[in-house]
C-alpha cells in the first residue's frame, strides 16, 4: 500500500468538502440546516474544513417544532456561537400564529407542520440552496436521493424525474423560485458518522449518552414522558437508563436502553445493533411510504 491512500472516512470527507464548496461556488444565497443532531454536527465540521480560515459563507437555519429536546436546542445555540456563525431559527409556533402552517384538528405532532415552516423560511430569506445532513442509508426513499436534489417552486421532490448525477459534476442551475437541497453526507452510514465524530473529537448533545429519564412504554418502545402526550391510565411512567440513537421530536423519539457513556461505547453498540437507527422513529413507522410522502411535499 502506497502512502497515497485515503481510508474510507477520508474518502467520505473529501467528497463532502467538494460538495460544500460547489454549493458556495454555485449558489447566491445558501443556508446550512443545523439542528444540533449528530449528522448536522458532522456537517458543521465539514463546513469548517471546506471554508476555513474564512467564515462559513452561509447562515445556519433550524426549524424549531417547539417539541425539541431542550438539551438539543441548548447545544445548537452554543455550537453556533462557538463557530461565530449566524443562526436563524424559525418556529412552527410562529408559523401557526401567522397562518403559514395549519394544524389539523387534534394534530399534536409537529412533523408535518415543519414543512410549510421551512418553505416559508426559504422564501423569507430567498435561500436558493439548503445543505442538509440526510443520509441515503437512513430510509428507503432517501436511498433514491441525489447529492443535489432539485425542488420545484412548490418545494416538491419528483423522485421519478430526477436530474441524472454523473461523476462529481453537479448541476446546480435553477430558475427563479426553484430550490436545491444538497446532502453532502449521502454516502455516509450511521457508523461512519460516529466514527467521524470520534476521529474529529466532536462534542455531541448529552442525550446521545446514557442517562436516567422518565419514559413510558408505548408501541414497543420507550418514549420520553412529556406533557404533550400524557401517559394513558394503563401506561406506567418509569425511570429508565436510556440514550437516544436518532433525535426527532420529544413525542416521537424512542429511547433505547443503553449503558453507553462514551463515543467508543456508542460505536460498539451500533456495531452489535440488530435494528436500524430509524427503527426508533415513530414518524417513519406511519407507513411504508411515510418519508417519500413528506419529501414530495417539501421535507428535507
Amino acid at each position: 500500500m502506497t502512502s497515497y491512500h485515503l481510508d474510507h472516512l477520508q474518502h467520505l470527507e473529501t467528497e463532502a468538502i467538494h460538495i460544500m464548496r460547489e454549493v458556495a461556488g454555485e449558489f447566491e444565497r445558501p443556508a446550512l440546516l443545523f439542528s444540533g443532531g449528530k449528522d448536522s454536527i458532522c456537517l458543521l465540521r465539514l463546513a469548517e474544513k471546506a471554508f476555513r480560515p474564512s467564515d462559513i459563507p452561509m447562515p445556519l437555519l433550524n426549524v424549531d417544532t417547539g417539541h425539541h429536546f431542550p438539551e438539543l436546542n441548548d447545544f445548537r445555540d452554543r455550537r453556533a456561537k462557538q463557530l461565530g456563525a449566524r443562526l436563524i431559527v424559525r418556529t412552527v409556533e410562529d408559523a401557526i400564529a401567522k397562518g403559514i402552517a395549519q394544524p389539523s384538528p387534534g394534530e399534536i405532532s409537529r412533523n408535518r407542520l415543519q414543512i410549510p415552516t421551512l418553505l416559508a423560511a426559504i422564501e423569507e430569506f430567498r435561500f436558493d440552496c439548503c445543505i442538509g445532513g440526510a443520509r441515503r442509508d437512513e430510509e428507503k426513499a432517501r436511498a433514491k436521493e441525489r447529492f443535489f436534489s432539485f425542488r420545484d417552486s412548490f418545494g416538491q421532490w419528483d423522485p421519478k424525474n430526477q436530474r441524472p448525477e454523473i461523476w462529481n459534476i453537479y448541476n446546480g442551475r435553477l430558475n427563479p423560485g426553484e430550490n436545491m437541497r444538497v446532502f453532502p453526507l449521502s454516502n455516509w452510514t450511521e457508523m461512519d458518522v460516529w466514527q467521524y465524530i470520534r476521529r474529529e473529537r466532536l462534542e455531541v448533545p448529552s442525550i446521545y449518552f446514557s442517562h436516567t429519564r422518565k419514559c413510558v412504554r408505548r408501541g414497543g418502545q420507550w418514549l420520553p414522558a412529556n406533557h404533550l402526550v400524557p401517559p394513558k391510565p394503563t401506561e406506567q411512567v418509569r425511570d429508565v437508563v436510556v440514550r437516544v440513537r436518532t433525535i426527532g421530536d420529544i413525542i416521537s423519539t424512542g429511547c433505547v436502553e443503553s449503558p453507553a457513556t462514551s463515543i467508543d461505547d456508542i460505536i460498539a453498540e451500533i456495531a452489535a445493533a440488530r435494528v436500524t437507527e430509524r427503527g426508533s422513529r415513530a414518524d417513519d413507522k406511519a407507513s411504508e411510504a411515510a418519508m417519500e410522502d413528506r419529501k414530495k411535499a417539501g421535507y428535507f
Partner: protein, 441 residues
C-alpha cells in the same frame, strides 16, 4: 458487546453498480448480499415480512429492500438508481442499483460513473441479450476498471457447467471490441444465495471466489490518477478579517485535487491566466501539509497574487493538459428531446461552466452490433455517439481515458436546466504550449 478496539474501521471503499434487464434478479442479488453478509437489521427484515404478507403471498421479496418508492413496490420494478451501503471488516461498499428496463443508459451512467466495478447480471436460461451487450459497452465507455459477469439463476439450468461456459464464450465474442481489462465470471443463484456470500455446494467445477469474496479483494488502490497535477479551483478563500494580521493578506484557492500530487515549493501553472508561480503553502483545516494528492480537498496559497478564480485550473508543469475550444467527445444522450447539430447548451466541466454549440454529430454507436455508424441526423434518448463541440471559452482538459475527473463533462439544456448528456472527452490534439507558461512573475 465487543470492546471498542475490536470495531474495525474498513480500510477503503469499493463502489459498484449492478445492471441487468428486468427479472434478471438485480435487486434480489443486492438483497441477498445484504442478508447473507448480515448487513440487514431486524426491523428491515420485519418490514420485509410485513410487505410479504400484503403483496407477496407470504414469500419474502428481497427486492423490496431496494425498491424504495411506492410506485416501484406497486409495479414491482425499479424506477431510479438506489444506493445501498454495507461494510465488512475489509471494506465499505457503496452499491448503486441501476434499473435495466426504461431509461437504461441514463440510469446506468448515473450509477456507474463513480464505480470501481460493475456487475452485469445475465439470466443463465437466456444467456447474452442485447441489454448485456449494451451494459458492457457502457461500462467500457465509462472506463470502469473492473467487471463481473454474474451468471444468475444457475439453479434453473441444473447448475450446468456447460451452460456457464457457453455464456462466457458469448461474452468473449464481443469483449475484444471493448476497452475492459479485468472481467470475472461467477455462476450463482441470488435467490438461494449460492456463491453470493457463501460458496455453493452445487458448483464443484467452479474454483473461483464467491461474489463477496471477489468484491472484498479486487485491487482498487490504483484507480485514482496520481500522474499530472490538476486542481480545478472551486472557491477563492479570502477571510474578511482585517483585525487578524496573519489572515489579512490570506488568499487561497480551494478545490479537490483531480489528478496527481502537489508539493510545497513546487512550480505550478495557473490557467487560463497562463502564469507560472510557486506553491507557497498547502493549507488544510488540520494544518499545513508538505504535499497533497488526488482526491484530497485542499487550499493552495500561491507565491504571487495572480488572477485565479472559480473555474480556473492550477496544474503541474509536467504532463500538460489540452487547452482548446474545439472538442471531440463521446456522449450518452439522456433526454427525450434529441441532440441535433447546431444547438446550444451549457457545458459543465470540473468547476467551469461555459456555453457550447454542437458543431457536428460524427458517429452513433449501434448497440446490437457495437459498430459505429457515421453521420447520424440526431442522437435520441439513450443513444451513445461521438460529437464535436465548440465552446465559448477554451477548456483545460485531459482525455477521459487519462483522467476521469478532468476528461468528463455534462451538458445542460438552456431554459429547463435539465442535465441532457454525459460526455467523455477524446485526448487533446494540442496540449498547453510552453509559451503559455513562459511568463513567470
Amino acid at each position: 458487546m465487543p470492546p471498542p478496539t475490536l470495531v474495525n474501521v474498513p480500510v477503503d471503499i469499493l463502489r459498484f453498480n449492478t445492471c441487468g434487464s428486468v427479472d434478471d434478479g438485480k435487486s434480489t442479488l443486492i438483497g441477498r448480499l445484504l442478508y447473507d453478509s448480515k448487513s440487514l437489521m431486524e426491523d428491515q427484515i420485519e418490514a420485509l415480512e410485513r410487505s410479504a404478507d400484503i403483496t407477496g403471498g407470504g414469500q419474502i421479496n428481497l427486492a423490496d429492500l431496494t425498491d424504495g418508492l411506492r410506485a416501484e413496490r406497486e409495479q414491482g420494478i425499479t424506477i431510479d438508481v438506489a444506493y445501498r451501503y454495507f461494510a465488512t471488516p475489509r471494506r465499505k461498499f457503496i452499491i448503486a442499483d441501476t434499473p435495466g428496463h426504461v431509461q437504461y443508459t441514463r440510469n446506468m451512467v448515473t450509477g456507474a460513473s463513480t464505480a470501481n466495478l460493475s456487475i452485469i447480471l445475465v439470466d443463465a436460461r437466456t444467456g447474452v441479450i442485447e441489454q448485456s451487450r449494451r451494459h458492457t459497452a457502457i461500462a467500457s465507455l465509462l472506463r470502469i476498471p473492473h467487471l463481473v459477469v454474474a451468471v444468475n439463476k444457475m439453479d434453473l439450468v441444473g447448475w450446468s457447467e456447460e451452460r456457464f461456459f457457453e455464456i462466457r464464450a458469448q461474452f468473449e465474442e464481443f469483449l475484444p471490441r471493448l476497452d475492459i481489462k479485468d472481467v470475472k465470471f461467477i455462476p450463482l443463484s441470488a435467490l438461494n444465495g449460492d456463491n453470493v456470500v457463501d460458496p455453493s455446494p452445487h458448483t464443484p467445477w467452479y474454483s473461483g471466489p464467491t461474489l463477496l469474496g471477489h468484491l472484498e479483494t479486487v485491487h482498487i488502490a490504483s484507480d485514482w490518477n496520481l500522474q499530472g497535477f490538476r486542481l480545478p479551483v472551486q472557491w477563492v478563500n479570502r477571510p474578511n478579517n482585517p483585525a487578524d494580521p496573519a489572515l489579512h493578506d490570506f488568499r487561497g484557492f480551494s478545490g479537490q485535487i483531480a489528478g496527481g500530487i502537489v508539493r510545497e515549493g513546487q512550480k505550478v501553472l495557473a490557467l487560463p491566466a497562463g502564469i507560472v508561480t510557486t506553491v507557497k503553502q498547502i493549507w488544510t483545516y488540520d494544518g499545513m501539509v508538505g504535499e497533497a494528492f488526488c482526491p484530497q480537498s485542499v487550499t493552495l496559497v500561491l507565491e504571487h497574487d495572480i488572477d485565479v478564480s472559480r473555474g480556473s485550473m492550477i496544474i503541474g508543469l509536467e504532463q500538460r493538459p489540452g487547452y482548446s475550444s474545439d472538442l471531440q467527445a463521446e456522449v450518452c444522450w439522456m433526454h427525450t428531446r434529441p441532440l441535433q447539430p447546431g444547438r446550444k447548451y451549457f457545458l459543465k466541466h470540473t468547476t467551469h461552466t461555459v456555453q457550447v454549440v454542437v458543431s457536428e454529430l460524427v458517429t452513433k454507436l449501434n448497440m446490437a452490433t457495437l459498430e459505429t455508424e457515421a453521420g447520424p441526423a440526431e442522437l435520441a434518448v439513450n443513444d451513445i455517439g461521438e460529437i464535436r463541440l465548440r465552446t465559448a471559452k477554451p477548456l483545460v482538459f485531459d482525455g477521459y481515458g487519462t483522467n476521469r475527473l478532468t476528461g468528463s463533462f455534462i451538458l445542460i439544456e438552456q431554459g429547463t436546466n435539465a442535465t441532457v448528456a454525459a460526455g467523455m472527452l477524446r485526448p487533446p490534439r494540442e496540449i498547453v504550449k510552453s509559451e503559455n507558461g513562459d511568463y513567470v512573475i
